[in-house]
Amino acid sequence: MATATQSVPGRARTFLHGVRGGDQIAYLVTFLFAASVVLITVLLVFELWTKSGLAIHKFGFSFLRTSTWDPVNDQFGALPFIYGTIVTSVLGLIISVPLGVGAAIFLSELAPPRLSNTLTFLVELLAAVPSVIFGVLGFFALVPLMRDHVQPALISAFGWSPVFKGPAYGVGVLTASMVLAIMMFPYIISISREALIQVPREQKEAALALGATRWEATWDAVVPFARLGIVGSVFLSLARALGETMAVTMVIGNDPKINSSILAPGYTIASVIANEFTEATSDLHLAALVELGLVLFLITMILNGLGQLLLLVTTKPGSAKS
């Protein structure tokens, strides 16, 4: 602290020193917090790796290829869960991407601004709904609907093909996919709408000036220009869907088997971890579950990375050029 008895240069030096010191402390403190974020994340990966060591050691890569999941006999294969996770998510995408992109087109191109903002607001609120609520609704509302009406209809129409073989359980891969689709709407719509809004007006006008109808101009000129952003939204939604736990657990049927029929029950990585973790029968069982978590983490990490990359590219001007 500068005191009155010090000379002016002395006082100035002390003041500056204090200033520098304060800044240095601030820098250090905030840096430590930021570094802790990195450390925690590194620790997370590390723990996942070490706690799955038993299973990695015992099964190696065949863990990913085997489809037997038998806790009683300590046989663990991840394939049914990888299959279930991917199929439900991809099927969910197949349902939600057309609906979502269609909605995004309407909201960005056709709707008057106030309507567009209101509807977008409502759709984005969907992202705030907790996953367990989707699960409860899926369980009590969707499952009976599937069991009593939708699945029997599908079976009678398409039951000859392996994809739609009965019986009509109500729960199953298709039901889980439908719940996931609804959960993916806000992400696909919100991000795609942003990408479509950023398309320069001259693209649409160029198509219109050639005699295109409004739809043709939108579909042929605007949407392709925004394709990177739309694909980015798909990747990000896919990553979310893959990690979705509660909503899926309540409607998928929890059967660790690979079945060609989407009406059959299945199992996802997140669901089996949620169901079996606290009741794992052996250390190997636990390690296998943790290894499943590691696999899920890696898959979502890659997809999220790709999605972010695509979105990053679209924020640069002239982004449709690639």
Partner: protein, 276 residues
Amino acid sequence: MSASPRSGVAGKEESLEGPVSSKPIAQAGPKLRASNVDFFYGKFQALHNVSIDFPENQITALIGPSGCGKSTFLRTLNRINDTIRGARVTGEVVLDGNSIMQVDVTELRRRVGMVFQRPNPFPKSIFDNIAYGVRINGLARRSEIHDVVERSLRRAALWEEVKDKLNKSAYALSGGQQQRLCIARALAVDPEVLLLDEPCSALDPIATSKIEELLLSIRDQCTLIIVTHNMQQAARVADLTGFFLMGRLVEFNKTDFIFKTPAKKETEDYITGRFG
């Protein structure tokens, strides 16, 4: 003599076409006629009582300072302003005797093409850019499309430069080439009128002169209307010139008259660089 767009030199009618024309023989009147056009963006009135006759197969330039409404006026001619919220047009625009409000708008825009201020090729290949208008309008069989594309690129003086890379992305071309691509794309649907909204403003002088040459060469197949802020350009290429100021057409006449002996003081002020 008041330089009304109806009287005077500009009103001289190109009434009879040559035998190869597919248009009705007794074509009385101009190709495109605007009458008492007002334009509103919401409450703001951008155009006041604009009336012009555009004769067939002539190049008409619209000049004036920024914000004078010349681009707005151009865009009413192919109704591309319809897509802007709150835009309203009154008055009449007649193409070959038919009001453009009564013609199907997609057909109108095929007949009245447009080239924009900045090149705006689609994120497709060069070939697909040109073929787009042809395809959606069903103007050629699949086997003929390649010929149509080549013809358009030749008309736009771009064929030699791109014939070996038709499948490359249009964005691989330079700015001047992209603009010629856009012209070729517009020409591919065989328009009767071509609207050009400051087509060279984003280009260097060499690219600009190439495009001006191009315009002169297609004049006999097409009626051209070009908005430009470059008076020398208007003097170089246009047969007729209209001077806009604050949403009004101040003067319209043969280009020579406008630049050498303008009738209105505002025109003279603009020409001599006293404003804008």
